[in-house]
């Protein structure tokens, strides 16, 4: 296998967190390589992100209040040391973004014009022009100003290799341009791969969100945390099929000052009041669907046809607040001003992930994580607007910390055996499906169905155990395709080998599904988006669920910040 590069900091994932980390590491003088599964700037979850960036911008608001709202919104499961970092660094990262050319919506006097989303004591959502996509273009432009940042698109990382000292010393990846496996040596690794929503059948997230970073961290021995915590976005378009999976922001719909619309059940009735958090609206919608009061295709309606704004003002508001969604649906023949649209809860954001500390350091020295891939920030529910803020705050921290770590290290020595032992496994995954004419995507769909059915909106012990058994069965079927070959032949898989990529993604998704099911079984309570019908109440003690390779799941302390006095 060809070693093509040697770098200080290697970043897996070129979205908001990865690019911000690259800029920070380069500013410390480190050489940086970014690897991404797609074309950087058009890949990952950041381009799908809405315009919301949460940071203090209202005169009466404060970092302390942002902290309290985030702790409370996460049902007290978020680590408070991390939340404190998030809220105190947010405004500095906003200033950076403005320097990079990101435009936030401002008032005529030049001050920020925050809007109020559910769970915010004061209006705190700063509106990014162009949304996550706009943010990403500015970050990419800024990254290009640094000669020591090298961006490599269209590659799938399959392994992180520890060097002789036991620290991350390199990665193996599949280059989709020529179908070859290659190696890059490095002195520190940052995971910025986003979430794992792709494990579930119904999701509005990116097809790339297979949880690669979690799998890679797990295999290296890092601790993963609260994997059962999956956020369902309550209002994803489900019909017609051409636009299935499109997110429409309920936070804007039900706000009388923004879009002035309603959410109605299948009978045209309202069924909740006020501005509920996502987990609260999820439960309300789910109850309507379960009780047979859903729409024809099993959802509820977003209805703007009787908007309190009136048609002229509604058109202007749609163009202002949800221009991409509005125009996209309009192109597809759905005019929200004339027709209610059917929506239902889908997998949207994974609060669980790789456990980190305030320096974005994982439990494996030299391995860092930033953005959605990290696990202990949001708790049991993520408040609207904190995701993009997280990418910038923890991306910058991870970049600086990884650069400092890398600078203490000399030449990297990777053992030949360490690479060769892994070659056998990944070449096997890469070719066995083609040899046996089995479609990996079929198995991926089976896996997604298992997860939706047994580890979806409602969970219980019997279902989760059944899910584990069905995943084990799927793994057995794959292993029985053929023995791992000891006399493997290293080979190329040709230009853009989509099926090989899917097989290697399946390898990661199978392991991760097992870990998610195990974590969901371990948390015997209902909290936020984790709804256990056999344990419908909050547990008296609030604990993290930890899991790591070679160990059973265990309960760990949630870090508290003494002086906050948040009621629990």
């Amino acid at each position: 296998m060809l070693t093509i590069l040697d770098t200080d900091v290697l970043i897996i994932g070129g979205g908001g967190a990865g690019l911000r980390a690259a800029i920070a590491a380069a500013q410390q003088g480190s050489s940086v390589v970014i690897l991404d599964k797609g074309p950087v700037g058009r890949s990952g979850t950041t381009p799908m992100a809405m315009e919301a960036f949460q940071a203090v911008g209202h005169p009466e608001d404060s970092a302390e209040q942002h902290f309290k709202d985030t702790v409370r919104g996460g049902l007290y499961l978020g680590d408070e040391n991390l939340i404190w970092v998030l809220v105190t660094e947010a405004k500095k990262r906003v200033a950076d973004l403005e320097k990079y050319g990101v435009h936030f919506k401002k008032k005529e006097d030049g001050s920020f014009d925050p809007m109020q989303h559910p769970g915010q004591t004061f209006p705190r959502t700063l509106f990014i022009q162009g949304g996550g996509y706009g943010l990403l273009q500015a970050l990419q432009k800024e990254a290009h100003k640094h000669n020591q940042i090298r961006i490599i698109s269209d590659v799938l990382v399959t392994n992180i290799i520890a060097d002789k000292e036991g620290f991350p010393g390199g990665v193996i990846f599949l280059d989709l341009h020529d179908g070859e496996f290659k190696v890059i040596k490095c002195r520190a690794v940052i995971l910025a791969t986003g979430g794992y929503e792709e494990l579930w059948a119904f999701t509005d997230a990116s097809v790339t969100a297979c949880g690669d970073g979690l799998f890679l961290a797990y295999e290296l021995g890092a601790e993963l945390i609260d994997l059962e915590m999956l956020q369902f976005y309550p209002t994803i378009v489900i019909y017609p099929p051409e636009v299935r999976g499109t997110l429409f922001q309920y936070e804007l719909v039900i706000n009388p000052d923004l879009l002035g619309g309603r959410i109605l059940n299948g009978r045209g009735e309202t069924f909740f009041s006020g501005m509920p958090l996502r987990n609260v609206l999820l439960q309300a919608i789910w109850q309507e669907i379960r009780a047979g009061r859903g729409t024809e295709h099993g959802g509820v309606y977003i209805d703007l046809t009787a908007s309190s704004l009136g048609r002229g003002a509604l058109t202007a508001a749609l163009n202002k607040w949800q221009p991409n969604q509005f125009l996209y649906l309009k192109d597809m023949g759905i005019d929200l001003r004339d027709t209610p649209v059917e929506v239902a809860p889908h997998a949207h954001y994974t609060m669980g992930g790789v456990a980190i500390d305030e320096k974005a350091q994982t439990s494996v020295l030299g391995l860092f994580a930033a953005g959605e891939v990290a696990g202990n920030l949001h708790g049991a529910n993520r408040v609207s607007g904190n995701a993009l803020t997280e990418t910038q705050v923890f991306g910058a921290i991870a970049g600086a910390a990884a650069a400092a770590f890398a600078q203490q290290r000399g030449n990297i020595d990777l053992e030949k055996e360490a690479i060769e032992s892994r070659e056998r496994e990944i070449f096997w995954w890469g070719q066995i499906f083609q040899e046996k004419k089995i479609r990996p995507r079929k198995m991926r769909e089976q896996l997604k169905e298992i997860m939706w059915k047994h580890c979806g909106i409602e969970r219980n012990e019997a279902g989760l155990k059944k899910g584990l058994a069905e995943i084990a069965q799927l793994e057995k079927e794959i292993v029985s395709l053929g023995p791992f070959k000891n006399d493997y032949q290293p080979r190329q898989f040709g230009a853009y080998p989509q099926e090989t990529r899917e097989a290697l993604e399946l390898r990661m998704m199978l392991t991760l599904s097992r870990l998610v099911l195990t974590s969901a079984l371990f948390r015997q309570e209902t909290r936020g988006h984790h709804i256990r019908i056999d344990y419908p109440l909050n547990a008296a003690e609030i604990k993290h669920t930890f899991i790591k390779k070679g160990m059973e799941a265990w309960a760990g302390e949630v870090k508290r910040k003494g002086e906050t006095n948040c009621p629990r």
């Binding site: 990116s206 989509q498 099926e499």
Partner: protein, 111 residues
């Protein structure tokens, strides 16, 4: 009543010396479908070697699924194909081709 969407696709592998060829796929459907939906259907049911970008940002903004449809560059996620019609699909930027409809964004000069 099921009708046919007929799609002629330019196939070429940048690593192979073979000249480009055109494959025609006939997709039975009862409804309009996006270009991206049809490509997924072909990949699932007819040809696992067809290369295109599966990514969808859900906001018709990222241009990852850009293709040339009947000579016009369009976004695959937001462009509808209708039963009973025939279409020609080519890579949006053949000068940066990797395979079939997939090209290397970093080599597109107009970017």
């Amino acid at each position: 009543m099921s009708k046919i969407i007929s799609l002629k696709i330019r196939r070429e592998d940048s690593l192979s010396a073979s000249p480009p060829r055109y494959d025609t796929f006939r997709i039975p459907t009862t409804r309009q479908m996006t270009v991206l939906e049809v490509l997924n259907e072909i990949y699932d049911k007819f040809d696992p070697t067809l290369a295109f970008r599966h990514y969808r940002c859900g906001r018709r903004i990222c241009r990852s699924c850009e293709v040339k449809l009947n000579g016009q560059i369009v976004r695959g996620c937001a462009t509808l194909l209708f039963p009973g019609k025939e279409y020609l699909l080519e890579p949006a930027h053949p000068e940066a081709l990797i395979k079939d409809l997939v090209f290397d964004f970093s080599k597109v000069l107009s970017e």
